[in-house]
């Protein structure tokens, strides 16, 4: 149990008991009653520290209707880009993410293979005696680079088409072919830009704590390597540690939903 939680609970309950003692020692009914109300209030407040101890000090310092629990970044990236870390109350926590590179579909599996696959997953689930987080994430793909490449292809095709049109001795089939290529790239851009494409990833997150950044990151990497070895032996694949910039796609909402897909939504609304 965190010491601060016990301390703040102790303080509130001590005040409550003190109020009870004072209430019994005073002969004036109205003062007894007021002291009893305070005793009840501090007793309930004390119990609420079981779950809300972390909020009591920020609540007292709240400004502009905002309770600030943490004013710093949610995480920092390790120098090697293979972990994230943050410090709270002198303890550094570090998390490493291990990819589970399994790319098979149940549509390709027989009943026996499906049963084995489910069995293997239950082995992954019971891999570690300390908590690990197994996640499957679906995010929107950022297709900007891909669309720009298609646009470059379209421009090249249009230039070729214009060149062929400007030649006097162009054969009709050459013109048709060039026109068809331009139409093909146009249709591709239209179909890709119209809807969102998704990417799915499964991974395991492991966290370790230490007195310093290096200690926490090394311990997290050690745990991650153990988990990766477990995944490798269970699924017969090569699990790897996720590094930057891909790590941001697991953590930051602006990477999970790229700005380009939102601007498409907005232009659709307008």
């Amino acid at each position: 149990m965190p010491n601060f939680q016990t301390m703040i609970f102790g303080v509130f309950e001590a005040i409550a008991f003190a109020m009870v003692v004072l209430a019994y020692s005073t002969p004036i009914y109205i003062i007894k009653f007021i002291l009893a109300i305070f005793a009840l209030l501090f007793s309930v407040l004390g119990f609420s520290m079981r779950y809300y101890y972390y909020i009591i000090v920020p609540f007292i310092h709240a400004k502009n209707k905002s309770i600030i629990l943490n004013n710093s970044e949610a995480f920092f990236v390790a120098p090697n880009g293979n972990a994230i870390f943050n410090e709270e109350n002198g303890i550094v926590s570090a998390t490493v993410f291990v990819r589970i590179p399994v790319y098979s579909s149940s549509t390709e599996m027989s009943d026996e293979e499906k049963y084995d696959f489910s069995n293997l997953f239950s082995k992954i689930v019971s891999l570690s005696k300390t908590p690990i987080k197994i996640s499957t994430q679906l995010r929107i793909l950022n297709k900007d680079d891909f669309i720009n490449k298609i646009k470059d292809k379209l421009n090249e095709a249009e230039n070729r088409y214009n060149e062929i049109l400007s030649k006097k001795d162009s054969k009709p089939e050459e013109v048709e072919r060039a026109k068809g290529e331009v139409t093909m790239w146009h249709n591709l851009i239209d179909s890709i830009s119209k809807i969102d494409s998704f990417s799915a990833i499964s991974y395991v997150a492991v966290t370790a704590k230490g007195g310093s950044q290096e200690e926490a990151i090394n311990m997290a990497l050690q745990k991650a390597n153990e988990v990766a070895a477990g995944i490798n032996s269970t699924y017969g694949v090569i699990a790897d540690i996720i590094t930057t910039p891909e790590i941001f796609t697991l953590l930051e909402p602006e990477y999970i939903i790229p700005y380009s897909s939102i601007s498409r939504q907005i232009s659709g609304m307008v």
Partner: protein, 274 residues
């Protein structure tokens, strides 16, 4: 209820009981004091079992936002975490995914094979029908097989003793006998699963989804729509899906980056379903 909560409840209740026991010495305020003491007891149980209703109510009335990290805030409704970047609002919400109690009281493991064969197909179908960003999370740790087995065998012995005592009594109640036999089958099924190689695990399952909008309200509305769709899709998986509000939302936000290091830390934050 875990030991820490029991201790907190015990000490807090002592104050209230001390006042109730001598309520008669408060003269004309006796009845009022008794009513307030009973309200305090109800508050203790509400904080323990329904703080997900109380805390958002309090923040709604006081119009308080909570800032869990830079650029993020939890609005007064306490039902999502919002990030505002470049004028775009990203709202992330969470759903619990608790197994129904009847899953824990299965008497035979025959159906397990069918479920395991169907599981990959059902999961893929669910994933294909979801057309927005979402994340399925399972925080899990395995338990010691031997100690768990000993616990089960202890319970089994006790139940068998109670059954033999009931059977050998002069007038055995058929309802009691049936109930004891059912409980024995449930425990035996769990022991059989351990014998077949399964390991006991403690797990926390939850689903999160993110929506974006050009205003806070647009993002929150899009998120609510997405979470409602997820509830519909995931309902076919024997899961009790409820939207997370209040302090648990803050912890799940933190779990996105750092998960608890030990089982005891995880258990201190959430209730245990067995």
């Amino acid at each position: 209820m875990d030991e820490a909560t029991l201790m907190y409840l015990g000490i807090s209740s002592m104050v209230i009981l001390l006042l109730l026991v001598n309520a008669g010495t408060f003269g004309p305020f006796t009845i009022l004091l008794v009513i307030l003491a009973l309200i305090a007891i109800i508050m203790l149980f509400l904080i323990n079992y329904a703080d997900f209703l109380l805390f958002p109510l309090l923040t709604n009335i006081l119009k308080l936002n909570i800032i869990p990290a830079k650029n993020y805030y939890i609005p007064k409704e306490q039902n999502c975490v919002i990030k505002n970047i470049n004028g775009i609002y990203y709202a992330t919400g969470y759903l619990t995914a608790n197994l129904y109690n009847y899953v824990f009281t299965k008497e035979e493991s025959i159906d397990d094979e069918t479920l395991m064969i169907e599981a990959p197909t059902r999961w893929e179908r669910a994933l294909m029908s979801i057309k927005f960003p979402f994340k399925y999370n399972l925080i899990v740790s395995s338990q010691d097989v031997q100690s768990y087995r000993e616990e089960l065998e202890g319970k089994l012995s006790l139940l068998e003793f109670r059954l033999s005592k009931e059977m050998s009594s002069g007038n055995p109640s058929q309802m009691t006998v049936d109930d004891l036999q059912r409980q024995i089958r449930v425990i035996q099924a769990r022991i059989d699963r351990l014998s077949s190689g399964e390991r006991p695990v403690q797990s926390l399952m939850y689903i999160e989804s993110t929506a974006a909008g050009i205003s806070e309200k647009a993002a929150k509305d899009a998120l609510t729509s997405q979470l409602n769709q997820l509830q519909t899709i995931m309902n076919g998986f024997d899961l009790n899906i409820i939207r997370v509000t209040g302090r648990e939302l803050y912890y799940l936000f933190k779990f996105n980056y750092f998960i608890p290091n030990s089982n005891s830390e995880l258990l201190s934050l959430f209730g245990l379903q067995k």
